[in-house]
Symmetry: C2
Subunit: 472 residues, 2 copies
């Protein structure tokens, strides 16, 4: 036990100051989720493995944390088949094992582990909706704020345990929900004091339309990835990359306007309408975009900017309609601080068909970093204890405790220094913890109150004390 | 995928109503923790196995959920030694395996798993204090509200995932902290509307004193277990059981007053003082009890009762001073709803000596059941959305959205029914979700507002609408 204890890589301890700041963000997100009619649910930290496995692709399956069967169960109930190749697997690299070896290993894992930690909040939500479909009144607007776990390689800003904050509505195809979700983003970020957040919107059907027009649905991802580099490598660079990926010059000619895709949202929509006139799906996407953007614009946003970004292709595998992504204000180097979209068949994986869902997610860790960088956490967030009563021994400590009790009943955060230590030490304690007020001697009904910020010391009665520590 | 999805046994989904009620309890606990100067920390859901293993006894080790090493790590980095007896273990019962077999199995487990889910909040807190000792200003008052996991056999009221809500202070031996923790229990339960909660207190040193007096330190647990049955099996029954356990009749004679241990706390303390006069440690315990009880009594409790219970022996293995346990008001059949105590060497297991700690814990699940049984959840807890605007099609929906935006900016929880469905269906939706107000037609600046509780319908302007839904 001589070695200093540590925590697993990719995980974090949060200090009081950090928890307070995180809770400040979460409380604002939560309050707005509820104003918009979203209701909270919570699901277990671990699910049956078959609920999660196969839902996030092969990469996802590998990144899911699996829990070892426990107690008797582990070696009693299951007849464990040892993988014949396990011995050899030990010395191999993950990327070099054969398909047979992987299957064998997966089988072995499945035998000794039947539960796994939540990987995101969407699959558990889909499972919840299907399992409780008879108790749920649809359309169902739910929010969920819980940690998820991923066995990703830890790196700056990427952790193995982190919170997701999701709001989704399921059971309606109404586009008013897309309108509301954009307003919700704006409300939260405005309440957090963030000016100039950009809420980017796109539509999967627009992307399909572009693919149709360039005559290559299979090149869609290559196309958007390359187009996204326009700022960095310029029009010629992008076109060069596209042609290398097998997109013809003729196809590029057809979507030439995308290389100078500027102007207001309305102008962009009109450009797209011309471009995608021949694609039925594309035109459906334009109709959806128009409804959403027009209504958002007419209703007005507070401090955020709405923008149409045709290169936005996140979640291309599952989104079927709107796609959202939020980026921090210009000047703050940070990836997206939120994202979401519509998926037409949310619960199909669990056997409940025709349940369209649309939702958004807030990236707590990144929002935290943005607020920190822009110095937007209110001072009050950091303030924990407001008043420290010094301890001069049992008899005065008792008098202090009487007053402390009264202050606490008024909601004031207040403490007695627990030991009758040297007064100097007690003062240092207040300073180190940034406690703004110290009560020294109590003589009859008078308190010696010291304001540690200003250094002033006054004699006050209880009401003055209460007023002083409440207002400053 | 035809089978209905389910969750692992011992885990729970929480519906919106349940989450709201749980959050109501947690918000009151949290607010009082902070009034008393406790600061929040959070630790990772999983710790390195060696942080947890061996800290909870052999039983605890078995109940800790272990996480399988993931990705490459599993089969690459570690040279896994297969347990020679694994084949035979598969068909054995956990209780019948030999020591060698268990060691072999434990070695195997340690090879394939290096992380484990948090089993309680105390060990991670001790680890946190040692790891961050240079950043912490002592005495350190911390609270922590997070889930823990135990592979216990699930049964009524016992789950494999549940929240713990702990407040502990470390780095001071002052008994004012015990005084405060009793006040804290009282403040929280009073704020929750619970009348007549009993906060029971005992002291490990009293128990040691009794053991000294009966001349058998090794029989202490047998003694307290038997004494605890006084209500059920009477004095003769208890004495019979004690003698069967090897406690002599002469010893019982010496502690005869414990069989009629009634009266005020002060009377009980005086009885104990006589009884334990020959035990130095016992008298130290009495001195501590006297300080705590006298000050708590003089400062006064709100709705709770303080009682001295010499049979209280929870955590006998680690508590060294005060022991607390809280029981629900008389008439509610429920085990303890809280407990705690002082441990002189909290962080010793991680190499930091002489750190005395004292803390208490709140049992969220049981408090929930008590409030439910006594019907003490305020109506406002269940109220989610306050107003539903009916949807008559795009044009009126837009007008509704304009008003909704204004109401939300006032903090009102309000929704638009997303689809222009039949009005009857929209009304049913409001009823099923217990939304109290519905706004029907909007004509110019007038709203048809229906109160679903009273059935009354009125024509109101915006200010009247705001007032109506805010006040009722």
């Amino acid at each position: 036990m001589a070695t200093k204890p540590s925590i697993p890589k990719g995980t974090r301890d949060f200090s009081p100051a950090e928890v307070s700041k995180r809770n400040y963000i979460l409380s604002i997100i939560r309050a707005h989720f509820e104003q918009y009619g979203y209701q909270p649910i919570e699901t277990p930290s671990f699910e049956n493995s078959d609920t999660l496995m196969g839902k996030y692709g092969e990469e996802g399956d590998r990144l899911i944390f699996k829990i070892l069967n426990s107690g008797n169960y582990f070696y009693n109930k299951n007849k464990i088949e040892l993988p014949p190749t396990l011995e050899s697997l030990q010395i191999k690299d993950a990327d070099s094992i054969s398909v047979e070896e992987r299957i064998s290993l997966n089988k072995f894992t499945a035998k000794i582990s039947e539960k796994a930690l939540r990987y995101d909040l969407t699959v558990p939500f889909a499972r919840y909706v299907v399992q409780h479909q008879n108790e749920i009144e649809f359309p169902f607007k739910r929010y969920q704020i819980q940690p998820v776990w991923r066995a990703d390689r830890p790196q700056k800003g990427r952790f193995r345990e982190f919170y997701q904050c999701d709001a989704d509505v399921v059971g309606s195809t109404s586009l008013w929900q897309e309108v509301e979700l954009i307003q919700l983003y704006d409300s939260v970020f405005s309440a957090l004091g963030l000016e100039g957040v950009t809420i980017k919107i796109n539509n999967r059907k627009i992307l399909s339309g572009i693919a149709e027009v360039i005559g290559a649905s299979d090149k869609l991802i290559d196309f958007t990835v390359a187009l996204d580099k326009l700022d960095k490598i310029g029009e010629d660079g992008v076109k060069k990359e596209m042609m290398e990926k097998g997109i013809s010059e003729e196809a590029l000619q057809k979507v030439q306007p995308l290389f100078h895709f500027t102007g207001s949202i309305q102008e962009k929509i009109e450009k797209l309408a011309t471009l995608l006139a021949s694609s039925q799906e594309g035109m459906k996407g334009i109709e959806e975009l128009r409804f959403i953007c027009e209504n958002v614009t007419r209703l007005g946003l507070q401090k955020s900017i709405l923008d149409l970004d045709v290169t936005l292709a996140r979640g291309l595998n599952y989104y079927t309609g709107a796609i959202f992504e939020v980026s921090a204000p210009t000047g703050v180097a940070m990836g997206s601080i939120g994202g979401g979209g519509r998926y037409d068949d949310l619960t199909g994986i669990f056997g409940l068909k025709n349940m369209s869902g649309v939702g958004i997610s807030f990236g707590l860790d990144r929002i935290y970093l943005v607020l920190e960088e822009l110095n937007l956490f209110p001072d009050t967030v950091a303030t924990s204890t407001k008043v420290l009563f010094l301890n001069y021994g049992v008899s005065q400590a008792f008098e202090a405790m009487q007053t402390i009790k009264k202050l606490r009943s008024q909601g004031i955060k207040v403490e007695l220094y627990p030991d009758a230590a040297k007064i100097d030490k007690q003062f240092k304690h207040a300073e180190r913890r940034a406690i703004p007020f110290v009560v020294k001697e109590i003589v009859e009904t008078k308190f010696s109150l010291k304001n540690l910020k200003t250094g002033t010391q006054t004699q006050v009665d209880f009401n003055q004390l209460l007023e002083e520590v409440t207002t400053k």
